[in-house]
Symmetry: C2
Amino acid sequence: MFDETDRRILGLLQADADMPIAEIAGQVGLSASPCWRRIKRMEEAGLISRRVVLVDRVIAKVPLTIFAGVRVPSHSVDWLERFRRVIADIPEIVEAYRLAGEMDYLMRIVVPSIEIYDHVYKQLIAQLEFRDVTSSISMEEMKFTTAVPLHYL
Amino acid sequence: MFDETDRRILGLLQADADMPIAEIAGQVGLSASPCWRRIKRMEEAGLISRRVVLVDRVIAKVPLTIFAGVRVPSHSVDWLERFRRVIADIPEIVEAYRLAGEMDYLMRIVVPSIEIYDHVYKQLIAQLEFRDVTSSISMEEMKFTTAVPLHYL
DNA sequence: CTTGAAACCGGATAGCT
DNA sequence: AGCTATCCGGTTTCAAG
């Protein structure tokens, strides 16, 4: 379905989506049109889902990352769906996962400061019941990439 | 520095980086050139850091997300720097944070399966000492966005 | 000093070999 | 797969508010 050349092209695009096709083609040893056709094919297959701009968190005034692990009072489908709706509407919550194990859910939240985090926290507990919420502050983002490993493809 | 119009433009670009400028301009009630100039300004200011393609994790065969929280044996700068180098070289580790509190570090790891996660885990403990590693499997990605909240800007 | 219209230009797209 | 022709959208310029 996809070969090593596709993976190399995709690797470049995961790093920089507006690299000119001519340059990508050059780096993978192809001329522009076949390279372009491969990209098109990866888009049509849904492998490339979309292109986005990445915003600098410090300049956007949301330098702080906080993780909130929560445990639920009741393991009901109803609670899950209400939780889903609540987190969808809070832009500070950028990631949320339902976990197997100790914690029921884990969220990554980006905010300007601890004070503002408290607002988000209150917003959360005002809308839903929780058994408990454990917040961990990130002191340093050591690695963050939107690029997924491609060698299993 | 940046006003509501900039935020609206940026919001659109965070959702879809290749929306034509003419359409963005239309949506924010501007014509193409001033809109283009605003985007340029946000790029030059570093607010827009770059554009990337987002890859579908299921199609790329890495559907599984696992969180690994670790505690260190020794709180030394040396250990931290070695850790930094190790995680930089493992593409399955897509995020890593140094935390304040119970856990010392938290990583988000994307893999095809638990079996492959075990490889990554072994790769990790082969290169560094850990006091302990706690892994949590994600059953469901409920929310994931690269878009940061813009209303603090 | 900022906007919008319009001309320009380059790279993305499509057809053909 | 690669070459070439077309075309569309980003970029620049310039006149007007």
